[in-house]
Symmetry: none
Subunit: 136 residues, 4 copies
DNA sequence: GTGGTCTAGACCACC
DNA sequence: GTGGTCTAGACCACA
């Protein structure tokens, strides 16, 4: 039997207890990022629980939980005995999720800004300022 | 005898265990909003935590905890035997906190947007769109 | 009957609920400062509870408590029907108290400094630095 | 199976209701001392609050409160399900806090001294005297 | 009456 | 098991 080796060597940002957010959330975010930035394409296989758990130095249960959340979001799917894969439209879905989240964050920012006495113009200015910083 | 009624009748958005965020955080947010929107001015007394707890139908300790957090932020100060008051620069401080938070949210939105393939222009467009909705 | 008017018009730093420390402690500290800085001499009469309470906009009980503490320290004494006065050696005593307190504070500072890895030299340097700032 | 015993056996100065300062403050001070004196390094795990509460014979909540304060100071961080740890720069931060406090104490001492008629020279002399005593 | 501290429980999310 | 939140009581210092 041939060992399939198509398994993309998944390299996530290191998971750390010191980082904010639960461990499983860090894994979810990491995989979503891999997808929406194009390093994981539709149909690509993900490593098994055990392998990823070893790589990230976390427990199998933690990885399992992350995969469950990704499956609920429709980003990956699992096939008995085969493994876990990026779903058909996992990329689009992942980007849609992020787009939606971006919108939600902006809305929240506008609300907070309004409460701090900032008008829309000023918030826009703030965005441009931040964009300027990013370019540097 | 004259009843002093400088005590502003504090009316917060109703607190609910179902709402996102811990109860004490909802109280903190509510009071910060009262302040930064000008309904509570510097030096104004807040209700005692016993009274507020009754009004909000939560435990005394939950309100106490909210007050502790507000005091740590320098927004209110508490005096044994006297009560709790909006601090000298509580208003400014409260707005500064919100401004900072607005900035953080925008930064996060830009990051999320970038990962979803959105450029700065597109995020700016999204902000303008949201502002348009708000006007309606 | 002649109204005695020797009563030194006591002008303390304004008492404020916002200031750190209990109200009565602020009064105690204020009177001690008046004494050790020479504005209140031995034998000088202090205003009555009621008068001082009115001036400072606090309750009579709060002033009473402050006077009790000063009496315990031997800095003032009260005579039935006459009033309250700075004691014989109130000035010396007041300064001695402050001197002692200075010493205690320095000791505590040295201890804290040691725990932060600061040697005696460094603490001395810090004192000189602070003295320099004061001169400016 | 190997028992990991990286868990430093934390031995704090005994906590006592008779000692000055609230119980939770004594715990905070004790842990800060452990850190700034090098017996607790970055990343080191602290005992769970349940365990420490047993050791110190205080309630779980009192220890929790102490941990909350330490976390606010950025000295430790807590992770649900994992435990509590000395933060990345907890050591530095802890020392910085103490250094700052040393400075504040010296400033207060100078102020008290001035009110007692002591000049800067005399306060410096007092410090040297105290240092001499310490050497003995 | 006010806030400040401490206690002994509970349930939940996370690992 | 861990920490996070909430609860219902207590006693004290202060005004």
């Amino acid at each position: 039997m041939v060992k399939r080796d198509r398994t993309h060597k998944l390299v996530l940002a290191p998971i750390s207890a010191a980082a904010p957010g639960a461990l499983y959330e860090q894994i979810v975010a990491g995989i979503k990022r891999e997808i929406s930035e194009g390093r994981l394409a539709s149909g690509a296989p993900l490593p098994s629980f055990r392998v990823l758990a070893e790589n990230l130095l976390v427990s199998v249960i933690t990885v399992k939980r992350a995969y469950e959340e990704l499956e609920r979001d429709g980003i990956i799917f699992r096939k008995q005995g085969l493994g876990t894969f990026i779903s058909e439209d996992g990329v689009a879905r992942s980007r849609a999720v992020k787009r939606e989240r971006t919108r939600a964050l902006l809305q929240e920012a506008l609300r907070e800004g309004a409460e701090a006495g900032l008008g829309g113009e000023e918030v826009l200015g703030m965005v441009e300022e931040l964009l300027g910083e990013g370019e540097r």
